[in-house]
Amino acid sequence: MRFPSTNLILFLFLSIIISFNYALGQQPGNIRGFVTDSTNGEALTFCNVYLKEVNTGASTNERGLYLIKSVPSGKEYELTVSYVGYKTKTLKVFVEPDVVTQVDVALIPLSVELQTIEKVGEKIVRENSTDISLERISVKELEILPKGVETDIFRNLQFIPGVSTTGDVTAKYYVRGGSGDQNLILLNGVEIYNPFHSLGLFSVIDPEMINSIEFYKGGFASEYSGRVSSVMDVISKDGNKNRFGFKGGLSLLTAKGLIEGPIPNGSFMITGRMSYNNDVLKKFFNEQTVPIDFYDISYKLNYSSADIFENAKFSIFGFLSNDNVDYNNPLREQFKWNNNLFGFEWLQVYDIPLYSRLGISLSTFEGEVIPNLSSLKPRYNNIKDFTINFDMNVVYDNRDEIGLGLKLKTIDSKFNQVNYVGIKSDLENFAGNLSLYGKYKFLQWKNFGLDAGTRFNITGLSGNGGGTFEPRVSLTYRFIPSIAFKAAWGIYLQELITVTDESEIISIFDPWIIIPDYLNPERSIHYIAGFNFDFIRGIQFSIEGYYKILQDIAVVNDQKFTRYDPDLLAGTGESYGLEFLFNYSIDPFNITTSYALSWAYKEVDGWLYYPKYDARHTANILLEFNLGDGWIASSVWNFSSGYPFTQIIGFYDKYFFNTNSLNGLSSGEFQPYTYLGDKNIGRLPTYHRLDLSLIKRLSINLVNIELGISAINVYDRKNIFYFNRDTGEIVNMLPFLLTGTLKVEL
């Protein structure tokens, strides 16, 4: 146990608060229910539910559930449910003492124009919500943004201050100075290990299957574990509960479809997407033809019947993705990756203010490099993650909440490779992580909220991961109605990492392994504080500052020349910055601008350097404009100061062994070799790019059609991706490119 004093204080604090609440519990009434879309029964997440008479309310969670506690009983109230893009609905509700009144609400969508122009994902009614560094992204927001070649949730994260990438050519993202494998990506609560198609160009998560996304840049609460930088929690759609439907879509790269509909006491949804033409990918690969094929399939089946369990919902869901690079040439190598995910979820809402979630899942990733007759060496990685987790949330009459959870995760990992000089690495491991968490949400004061808790890892996946605590605190203090101060602090551990060479800006193989016993689990400490300003309706402004310490981060040993050298070295990291976000949203405009000033450092083996994703200044301007009659225009301008690169100092003539003749050094055995400067000390030129998009939506009989055209890099900026030292070639990112999409919905 690393932090006995801190954890002891937290546990004492929790114990006192819990006792206090049991002692002072009262018996007012409660209102709860699910908010759904009336046309398809999909849960509406993060929408507002408001009781005018008592000026209180709640927002729905990621499953569409809301709960308003401690409503004075014996009265009738007006319950107003609103969500941008839907008709506001007001209902009369009579609240009885000590009873949970169930009020499910189905909202009717508004016209096409209004849905598309307004920013979906309203602010939560609760003024004391502990949500610093949390971004909620709706699919409708994604639909309006310039799509590029393919609508992609990861690429759209880049508009959030604090999230960076190393270029147009990859959807891999880095959050507040953390590396790529430190981002947790969950689909319905289950980890996806390789979330990228096509060498990292696109995410495997098809936006068509998404209901909601919560993205934590840091300071995330105790229920999340396993990563030290960020969390993306994606909830998939349930499927239309009212009627059968079909959607089809086409882009320059993929064709996709979605089928959904009702089943007795439930619904289903199946989506599929596959690449059919990879000509457009040449633009990403410096005009190289790369024979990539990929597909992904997602499905979900929901069942809810009072005959079996009242107020229970059962879901079975799955996800498959597969990528293949095959040159159809026995002399060339072949690459294969696949994710398979299967999960079961039982959501239970109890008569008392308690709800729980049981999840059982299996998530696998398999990646393989098959050399055939090429000079490459075989590489293979397989991860099997079996997880059972149980989460429970108790809500007290005074609105305070207790969250408890237990998680059992077993990982079966296999990583085999032969490096270029024939040294084999066989890392096989089977390990289990049993962890639990407890947290207390102090929400009884309207202008103050506190979420304090800790995880405790009873056993760890790695030899040094057991018996460790991860305490976390997040708070909000709204000292005047229009200004809220928010802060968070937490300790985070990570025991599964990718063996990724930092010098690779496009990486074909990112194998996952359990951190070896000669290293400690990766550990980070987040310090975050900021202000939210809400002075005028339609205008929101926030400032956040953060400081993140990274310890024991595993870095690939680029000086591993023999099998006795370690594969990984332990490094440290530090990052800090300030982030500004401004949003102005009044029909028919929506303007979002963001700016981040940030620093990131890593230190490995005594060398301090900037990681490749460290950009001092990043800014984005997003404009959306509803032109009316189904036309929507948008533009995005991205700016980033230069990313680090290692400068060339010169060249020298290096000796290469001639194994046919070791008798002496001769002139033919020397070739020019790059003499590099200090790692990442140089900076590439600034990056900026403007994308435009125009969407036309129309309905013909019962068919909704969406036509989209996007212009990428409108002014054809030559943003440098990298400098090829072997050829002297400057390789640029995406040039000006016109793309189109078509979507049909029945």
Partner: protein, 322 residues
């Protein structure tokens, strides 16, 4: 100025800044030096090279045509409590497409290295700068009794040789050759034919695969590779009687010291075509410079023999040895 005009100017400004900025991948130049010397155990002619770094006008190093060799350096190697001073010399360059001058090198022909001995280096450059290094020569290798002794082996279609070493992290380079004599115009000429470990089919052709330095302490030769090598001795000659194969094959194994093994490892890499790696690892054990100061030793395995009947089945004569 109205807000609309201001926005208009901003957009025009954005379009104007689309012009490309100059990019210079070079940092401030500091001259460094590359020294290479691999001492041998099987002969006493030791060589070394010394070059300075350079920067071409553009980014293509092959456009730099000024010979970077440094002459006049004082190179000393300490071995077995004795100092060996290297002299500079030069030979005709094989490839003059880049540098036109003779190839400069340093040599000493008075020592060869044994096993597990400390070697130390000091180079004093003409400009007064010094390079230093040290290493430990590789340990003795011994051949395992389970190694093959007869070709063709009984009941197997592979020939395996196994060896042992006390060193850790060292690389080996095995080599197997057929020794034979060929009558050419009545004159007997001694020749050696290297045997690959296997052949692979590339298109319609068979390509031999020879051992490369690696950390394995065994090597396996496919019998069909041995057969093909034996056939290739006289491939274009119908008169097999012109050839006589020695009973004993030539098997040698070179053991590299640790720095040489690391150097080999660092230069042997190749990644796939799709991965884009912007930095390269560079190993050197030269303090204050680049390059390598290392050594290797060679050990021969003398128990591997052809059977007479087997050689004669190819139509060759057989030379019996003790």
């Amino acid at each position: 100025m109205s807000v609309r005009k201001a926005i208009g100017f901003i957009f025009i400004g954005v379009f104007l800044i689309s012009c490309n900025e100059d990019f210079n991948p070079y940092g401030d130049y500091v001259e460094k030096y590359a020294f290479t010397c691999i001492l041998k155990s099987n002969e006493n002619f030791q060589t070394a090279t010394l070059f300075k770094s350079y920067r071409p006008d553009g980014y293509d190093p092959y456009t730099y045509t000024t010979d970077p060799s440094i002459v006049g350096a004082d190179i000393r190697v300490w071995y077995n409590d004795t100092v060996f001073v290297f002299s500079d010399s030069s030979v005709t360059r094989e490839d003059t497409s880049r540098y036109k001058t003779p190839f400069s090198f340093y040599y000493n022909n008075k020592f060869f290295v044994g096993n597990r001995k400390t070697i130390e280096l000091e180079v004093l450059l003409p400009n007064g700068k010094r390079l230093r290094s040290n290493s430990l020569t590789p340990g003795q290798i011994t051949f395992d009794n389970n190694s093959e002794v007869i070709i063709p082996p009984i009941g197997k279609n592979i020939v395996q040789v196994i060896w042992k070493t006390l060193d850790e992290g060292t690389f080996f380079l095995p080599k197997l050759a057929i020794r034979y004599e060929q009558k050419i115009n009545g004159e007997v000429v001694y020749k050696e034919k290297d045997i690959p470990t296997r052949y692979v089919t590339q298109g319609n052709e068979l390509t031999p695969v020879y051992p490369v330095p690696n950390a394995s302490i065994t090597v396996v030769y496919q019998m069909n590779a041995v057969i093909k090598a034996l056939q290739e001795i006289s491939a274009s000659d119908p008169n097999k009687n012109n050839y006589a194969v020695f009973q004993n094959l030539l098997f040698s194994c070179i053991a590299f010291d640790q720095p040489s093994s690391r150097y080999l490892s660092s230069t042997g890499g190749n990644v796939d075509d799709l991965t884009v790696s912007v930095d390269v690892a560079d190993y050197s054990n030269i303090e204050g410079g680049f390059g390598l100061f290392g050594s290797y030793s060679q050990k021969k395995y003398t128990r591997l023999r052809f059977l007479q009947d087997y050689i004669e089945s190819f139509g060759y004569n057989f030379i019996v040895e003790d």
